[in-house]
Symmetry: C2
């Protein structure tokens, strides 16, 4: 699996101009030479280029409705089949699922007041808010992606791990062979969230449930000792759990807590509701569970 | 149950000064004459006043660590017992759970560079990010609340229902007697989210599960036809569901869809996973379910 760089490219700023796709690729902003979407179905999409076409994108500046690829004749470019949620389209859907930042560049042929007269301009980081299918002008179905420009506030919330090169760690889940990988990316919440999700095959450590989406299983990386002030929990694998949204909300708001032996206890009834599933390669520190218990008054 | 006004008070702007608590109350910014927290355990807290005390709050301007009330001697003000998560403290925890905006005002006795020399200043709208218990200076436990100032971006996302006076509707769930109530508030996502949650006793319409927190059951109001452009679904009860976070993520990202008879279908396997629980007083429009199905390519 290739390393993939998410977020801003060092030395490149929004507004920077590139004469052609080759120089845009060389800068690192958009590595593929031709494809409009840079990404894969493992890590998601890191970059798109708006370059105009028969199925137009809608460019409102801070909001872009981007049309996926596929279904068109390679020589004429004409849409002659419906698009599927695969390849770059699936990669963009995964960036939506994972809340990853996507670099956006505009080419001169885009019907937009924001496009340059010649060449390409890097517009900055966007987030995929949602995706859906609709009938395009050709009468065939296309996939659409709604992106919005990340605000400074959103960017600074992401900045925790900006451009950090992650350590080499195992990310194979229990059911697959071990494989080392280096991930170099901005992670919305944590530079290790990707690893902890893979350890458990994108299933919840409390209920084992899977939350299905059109872009694969959805699960969240949750810090046991909270990250923010005044708790200042560390962003390490020893402080991270892989939880479904339901079991993420509950401990954050004091509904369940964890014992030193990683039993899950209902905070109101004090009844055990389960035992945390654990991957032997996932080190967890019980002092963080003790810190979390004290936050909500349990002295277990 | 009293109506409670959440969000900005018309005619009052951040920075406005009030000579005393009576004028602050009269303006509508902070109705109680003495209590530091304005709120109740049904609707949450709409306003707090920082006024200094033995258990100091921490005031960093845009971030405030606020200490709850209770556990102190009414005559000396000295902390002589631990605080409980009840009354105003529970109201603030509910505002956290529901994502409600809280008005913040500062009095002159706050140890803070942001406090006025005399009287009170309205600081603006904040959001409760989290709450927890810790040992205060007195050696007794206090509840703390972390608030951050809402940015313009966050405020405009909330602005959909700003200061709208909701219609009179029934909000009793199936297990309680019917009672009419008027709710006048800003709702983060929807002016009807409160109603739809009460119809189902804060339990998911798909799985019936309850997500427990220290501040009561957590559940989300979900639009079937999405609110944003280009879908422009309406913010009405006919387009709203009461869902746990897991069953909210899944349809938003195309993992499940609903038939016209409100069966819940897994989008990948096309296997029915359940039937939507329905309160007879909750009108739902199947054309929104059909719109949602088309977004992810199902022609059912």
């Amino acid at each position: 699996m290739p390393a993939r760089l998410f977020g801003d490219i060092p030395g490149v700023r929004p507004g920077d101009w590139f004469p052609n796709r080759a120089s845009l690729a060389e800068s690192g902003v958009h590595p593929p030479g031709q494809a409009g979407i840079s990404g894969d179905k493992e890590l998601g999409a890191d970059s798109i280029v708006l370059s105009g076409g028969l199925e137009d994108d809608e460019d409102l500046g801070d909001v872009i409705i981007y049309t996926g690829h596929g279904g068109n004749d390679p020589t004429t470019g004409r849409q002659d089949a419906s698009q599927s949620l695969s390849r770059g389209n699936l990669a963009l859907a995964i960036s939506c699922r994972e809340g990853l930042p996507v670099r956006v560049s505009r080419g001169s042929r885009v019907h937009s007041p924001y496009s340059p007269v010649h060449g390409y301009v890097y517009a900055g980081l966007y987030q995929v808010e949602g995706f859906w299918q609709e009938r395009g002008r050709s009468g065939f179905n296309v996939w659409r992606f709604r992106l919005h420009a990340l605000t400074d506030t959103e960017l600074s919330a992401m900045a925790r791990a900006v451009m950090e090169i992650g350590p080499e760690y195992d990310v194979g889940d229990e059911s697959t062979e071990r494989r080392p990988i280096t991930i170099q990316r901005i992670i919305r919440n944590s530079q290790y969230s990707d690893a902890v999700k893979r350890y458990y095959g994108y299933r919840c450590q409390v209920c084992r449930d899977e939350v299905r989406t059109a872009a694969g299983l959805y699960v969240e990386a949750a810090h046991i000792k909270p990250l923010g002030s005044p708790h200042d929990g560390p962003d390490t694998l020893t402080n991270l759990l892989c939880l479904c949204p339901n079991h993420h909300v509950s401990p954050d708001l004091g509904g369940i807590f964890l014992t030193d032996r990683w039993e899950v206890i209902d905070a109101t009834s004090h009844v055990p509701v389960g035992v945390l599933r654990r991957n032997p390669r996932h080190p967890l520190d019980p002092t963080f569970a003790a810190y979390h218990r004290r936050l909500f008054g349990d002295q277990t």
